[in-house]
Subunit: 340 residues, 2 copies
């Protein structure tokens, strides 16, 4: 099957670019130095590729992601890097056993209570390193770890996500601020103990050589998007949504890739060689059709639309097609979608 | 079951508000004067409510929506108000028969060819009335209708979506521009013939008394969203995404409703009484927790998040829960998602 035969909108992964991205990251952060974040792709087939290049520990954002990873045989060491208080879901995580290890994040007495009551056995203390989201104050981490151990949980260490620094445009400034944020995390770790100091993301993947973290939680590096693409990182865009042109007018054309097929929180997607005017539910209107290639010049032709944000784009599709050039070589299910 | 018992993020429809919205619209545009657009909700259970108040003709944006509506017994008169060139999907539409009638939009020789080859029997000519998207030039509509009839298709009339005018803030200006756009559509209809003149949307639902259209394609009116809410329309917000608070900090709180649970193309959602700071994949950070109600003040409490755009929000969820007050009374599957 060729790209031209796919029903559209079709989520397409360039297998060669994906391979290169995985190799580039594995060279900088090999094995357990990277804990790939599956929220970026929600796809166990892609996670298996990450395991193939040496990463056997994974980060999840939701219980469903962790349960799906475990079911796929990828549960050696799963970190739910998020606070969960839903008893039913926590119990489902606690029921995983045998070869599977699940660790949850806690950042308050309430989240510790929920984890302990559900029978979870491993946690990390989530520390606020500057992003106004979850995480306890660095000075509270030690007390929370003591309380967790008193409830019978093994405290594996700390995590702290410097998400507010991912898109700092200047690399030197980004490095400096990451180091300051990680000083907070190290101080908390001194009080907490354990082997794990987990942090970071794609935007800071190579700025942690002196920060003392033991593992990086990057996810977007595998597929990339146009937002991260502005940072000059050594990862290429592997993901596009292929559309069929359904109208060609004077000065613009329309394809069947709309905002229901694209993560739109970072703004409009891109079409190389064209200017995107706007997206509707099931349409993209773009100008300079000639620059977008011959496919954009006739009804029935194909265009590649590059999403501004990978993570929510993946979550909108049931299937991803892996291509090598124009040939479709694999069909992957986006099997970690939803919340269960 | 109560709202507090739902697993979150939970898509929740206020049944009383929905009923009121449906009644308000049916009073202005009863029966076939409204062709409700199912792209706004992608839910046959909700479409059945629209049928219950008298609307038995429906608008669809995708073949999957039409196929799902037909399978649910709601296929009396389905208009796929969009251009489709996928032969397999067009053949699936053509294969619907018996009590089902399917009409597709055409706006070019290429889209007519695709419909005719697949065996479709009914079409409307889609006319460009000012939105730079699909639709032929008004002056070409008659020739296209002749060509369609020569290929054996019944041409039921015209459609023309004035989508560029939905959000014109001033009502008098909106009316004036709608009337000018519809003059183009009427001129095309004079050349095309047929019984159908289909146009409009929620933002222009009561501006068509003198435009000559026979039916309005509104969809958003049923559930509404905060973007349409700025227009002062007589429809209330029926849709929210209920989240569980997972962290309470000094000055802000965090709930588990992130951008993967929200259509984000119109910007951030709202939380009544609070200020939304930002959304992450699985989190919403909001300030003034006290204003958002007691639920926002403690971990495990609940908050209602109002999406800025209904249509893509529905497409992100598998289930919608219908509530009356705090009681959950129905569970609806969002069964028209994806593209098939």
């Amino acid at each position: 099957m060729l790209v031209h035969d796919l029903p559209t909108p079709a989520l397409v992964i360039d297998g060669d670019v994906l391979d290169a991205n995985l190799a580039t990251m594995a060279a900088v952060r090999p094995g357990a130095a990277l804990r790939p974040h599956v929220k970026a792709h929600k796809c166990t087939a892609l996670a298996r590729r990450q395991a193939d290049v040496g990463h056997h520990t994974f980060t999840c954002a939701t219980p469903r992601e962790a349960l799906g990873m475990a079911a796929a045989g990828l549960g050696t060491d799963l970190l739910v890097a998020n606070e969960v208080v839903d008893a039913r879901r926590l119990e489902a995580l606690a029921a995983l056993d045998g070869d599977v290890m699940v660790t949850v994040a806690i950042d308050s007495t309430a989240t510790l209570d929920a984890a302990a009551r559900a029978g979870l056995r491993h946690c990390v203390v989530d520390v606020d390193v500057g992003l106004p989201r979850c995480g306890c104050a660095p000075g509270e981490a030690g007390r929370l770890a003591d309380a967790a151990r008193a409830r019978g949980l093994a405290v594996r260490g700390v995590m702290g996500y410097e998400g507010h620094l991912m898109m700092v445009a200047d690399r030197a400034e980004r490095r400096e601020r990451v180091e300051a944020a990680m000083a907070l995390l190290r101080a908390a770790h001194d009080d907490v103990g354990g082997d794990v100091v987990s942090a970071g993301g794609t935007g800071t993947f190579d700025l942690h050589d002196h920060t003392g973290i033991t593992e990086l939680q990057a996810g977007s590096y595998a597929l990339m998007d146009t937002a991260y693409g502005t940072l000059g990182l050594p990862f290429g865009p592997a993901l596009s949504v292929v559309g069929t042109v359904i109208a060609v007018k004077s000065g613009y054309a329309v394809a069947d890739v709309g905002l229901k097929a694209l993560g739109m929180d970072h703004g409009n997607p891109s079409i190389p060689g064209a200017e995107v005017w706007f997206c509707s539910d099931e349409h993209i209107t773009f100008s300079n059709a000639a620059g977008a290639g011959a496919g954009a010049l006739s009804v029935g032709g194909r265009v590649h639309v590059l999403p501004a944000h990978v993570d929510p784009t993946m979550a909108l599709h049931e299937i991803a097609w892996v291509v090598r050039g124009e040939e479709v070589v694999e069909r992957w299910t986006i099997d970690l979608r939803g919340w269960g």
